[in-house]
């Protein structure tokens, strides 16, 4: 079928069942936008390109499929970089489309020219600059395949304006074969048997679940293995929600900002199954964190992660869903009640002490406990970066919903756009965005997107007038020499929401907490709850 490359690009997205895209137009991407007008695909005009990346990121995480963001050439593409790198660090599948200057002007430093494929090379799974329009269908097919298979990640397609205007014969390929890209899916049977034997022998076995559990769609298999074998589970920040927070086998989040019960479990386990986690420095600082006699089983789809951060006894390369299912078949119930009882006791001692009270300031830990009680089971909570993120991670109880945050890159300003993206998948689902006053001010332009498209996101701003986590670091590591961390009490965040016609409320103590949560969850459409938190409130 004859059509322009721009029309073909839109057809490719339709073929990939894309329903919503997030973007910001500009001259170099105008032919594509013109073609998009004739498509049922919904386009959300975000307020800054990075935010479009985070929107697509949130949507990709709840749909389990690659999602799309769009930017124009030069500054548009450059603004998107942080969104791309954020997705790369957390292995989130994105297809990022950027406009580019005319192909005969490439390399001549013309208006709004930037080498985006060169710039994103270190933190994209792959990138294309399209120089022959007839290849567009193959490139899109490959891009979606690369983004969504193996270890997922962002793929960039950079299309010069003149190429978008070429007329081509379009046919979307049915199948795909790349000789240089064949991810291992099925785990080695012998290694799985060895792993099962090691778990059976263990007195203190433990599963560490990471973000790969979601990437592989292995939540059910993980829970099956844990329930059948009675092995306790801890998660990384990215793995939070892989088992329900109220599951009797769940011991919490490990790492620098994890809880005591989870870190103690990690330190004393004699067999560890690390599943879909890269054992990054914030989760497992180094091999020294793990007991010397511990047998480490590392399951990951990416062979390069095995042995990179910690020493491994039994490596298994493969899809977590398939491997965990196989392990669940082979591992019987292990009677490790003493071990479990010890961890349950430790878990009961995870504290909620705070400077907040019924008189003044909100206790963020207690706030999240109460929020979890009232929020629907399938609610999605996106957490920004900093203290708000850790409070949410350690005290918000995920049931059947999701907890989404920028784990690897720690990108401030992630929560609000990610929540907006998640909400587009299902307007009836409760989606909450949690951020501090710092992250809020990095993403508050997206109140515009939320208001314009009537996305009923519930925004929770934990306002302490400071960059709390950096302040805490300066207090503890630099002798209280606080510098460049005070944001002050401007703007009036609740009032600012009013400018967008988003209803808001301020919570200044715990006395009104339940009422405020009730209001937040029952308000129709978007709303914002600002919680005043003591500047010296500690992260843990």
């Amino acid at each position: 079928m004859k059509m322009t490359v721009a029309q073909a690009m839109v057809k490719c997205l339709e073929q990939e069942q894309i329903q919503t895209v997030f973007g910001y137009p500009g001259a170099a991407i105008c032919p594509f936008y013109d073609a998009l007008l004739n498509s049922p695909i919904e386009h959300l005009l975000i307020r800054q390109e990075q935010m479009g990346g985070h929107c697509a990121n949130g949507l990709a995480r709840v749909t389990g499929r690659p999602q799309v963001c769009i930017a124009t050439s030069g500054p548009g593409a450059l603004n998107l970089i942080t969104g791309i790198a954020t997705a790369y660090m957390d292995s989130i599948p994105l297809v990022c489309i950027t406009g580019q200057v005319n192909s005969d002007q490439l390399g001549k430093d013309v208006f709004q020219e930037a080498d985006i494929t060169g710039a994103v090379e270190p933190f994209s799974k792959y990138s294309y600059i399209v120089k022959d329009g007839s290849q567009i269908a193959r490139i899109f097919k490959e891009a979606f395949y690369l983004a969504g298979t193996g270890r997922p990640g962002p793929v960039v397609i950079d299309v010069p304006t003149d190429i978008q205007n070429q007329t081509i014969d379009f046919e979307y390929p049915e199948t795909i074969s790349m000789r240089s890209y064949k991810p291992t899916v099925v785990g080695n049977a012998r290694q799985i048997t060895r792993a099962a034997a090691a778990l059976k022998k263990a007195k203190r076995p433990l599963i560490v679940a990471g973000g790969g559990i979601f990437a592989a769609g292995a939540v059910e298999e993980l829970n099956k293995l844990a329930a059948k074998s009675g092995i306790p589970v801890v998660t990384t920040l990215m793995g939070k929600g892989a088992v329900r927070d109220d599951d009797p086998y769940y011991m919490g989040m490990i790492g620098t900002h994890g809880v005591g019960s989870a870190n103690q479990a990690l330190a004393h386990a004699d067999a560890l199954l690390i599943a879909g986690a890269r054992a990054g420095d914030r989760s497992i600082k180094d091999t020294g964190v793990i007991a010397r006699d511990c047998t480490v089983i590392h399951l990951d789809i990416d062979p390069a992660e095995i042995g990179k951060n910690i020493a491994v006894d039994i490596p298994i390369v493969g899809d977590a869903r398939q491997v965990l299912d196989a392990l669940a078949e082979q591992v019987p119930y292990l009677c490790c009640e003493d071990w479990l009882a010890r961890l349950v006791d430790l878990r009961s001692r995870n504290s909620t002490k705070s400077l907040g009270s019924d008189e003044a300031y909100v206790n963020p830990k207690e706030f999240f406990l109460r929020l979890s009680e009232k929020a629907p089971d399938n609610a999605v909570l996106t957490a920004d970066v900093g203290q708000n993120q850790i409070w949410a991670a350690n005290y918000y109880k995920v049931k059947r919903g999701r907890f989404l945050t920028s784990g690897g890159m720690g990108t401030m300003g992630y929560a609000i756009p990610a929540a907006a993206g998640v909400q587009t998948a299902d307007p009836s689902r409760t989606v909450m965005a949690v951020c501090g006053d710092g992250g809020f001010q990095m993403s508050m332009m997206e109140l515009g997107t939320i208001a314009y498209y009537k996305l009923p996101v519930k925004i929770i701003v934990l306002n302490n007038h400071f960059l709390g986590m950096v302040k805490e670091l300066q207090d503890r590591g630099f002798g209280r020499r606080e510098t460049a961390v005070e944001l002050g009490d401007k703007p009036d965040i609740a009032a600012l929401a009013g400018c967008y016609n988003i209803p808001s409320k301020k919570l200044t103590s715990m006395a009104e907490c339940d009422g405020a949560i009730q209001w937040l969850l029952s308000t129709e459409g978007p709303c914002l709850l600002e919680c005043l938190v003591h500047p010296d409130e500690s992260t843990l």
Binding site: T117, G118, E121, P122, K125, Y126, I129, L146, M178, R179, S180, Y181, D302, P303, A304, G307, K308
Partner: protein
């Protein structure tokens, strides 16, 4: 410790920059790098000599293998496999010592690729060790300049990548 890695990659634009970018951003040290097309014009072959311990080399091979453009790679055994570099070396010479230089060239099986009244350019394709020997032999005559390619290597016998 030096390790030789031979890599087959898709022959299209940007591949070399992706490979070299991987080395710099992950702090791997490249001693030498050579790239050229193979008998299949869609495939290029890259030979990299990397300096590092076992952990580093394992990481290098895994990270390279992960790259979408990499078709296949193998770590070669420097003791049994065939490894060659090409050296062009220009030395000072005069009528008196020219015959000495010709002797060295013959002994080393180097080719005389250029000659002038007071310079002499030799060409030698051999192992890095033999090139170093040749350089030592010529040093007393005054090396004007030299250029080397990165090492290229193939496996011994019928083994192929």
């Amino acid at each position: 410790m030096k390790h030789t890695i031979s890599i087959l990659v898709e022959n299209h634009a940007g591949v070399l920059s992706r490979i070299s970018g991987l080395f710099s951003r992950r702090s791997f040290n490249i001693d030498s790098l050579a790239v050229g097309v193979t008998d299949d014009p869609t495939v290029s072959r890259i030979t990299i000599i990397v300096n590092g311990d076992e952990y580093t080399v394992e990481q290098v091979t895994k990270q390279l293998n992960k790259m979408v453009d990499v078709i296949k790679l193998k770590q070669l055994d420097s003791s049994s496999d065939i490894c060659r570099e090409l050296l062009l070396i220009k030395v000072r010479c005069n009528a008196k010592n020219r015959s000495d230089l010709i002797d060295i060239a013959q002994l080393m099986q180097a080719k005389i690729s250029d000659l002038s009244s007071n310079s002499f350019t030799l060409e030698l394709s051999d192992t890095p060790q033999r090139l170093a020997l040749m350089e030592e032999m010529l040093r007393p005559y005054g090396i004007l300049e030299e250029v080397r390619t990165g090492a290229i290597a193939l496996q011994h016998g019928t083994e192929v990548l």
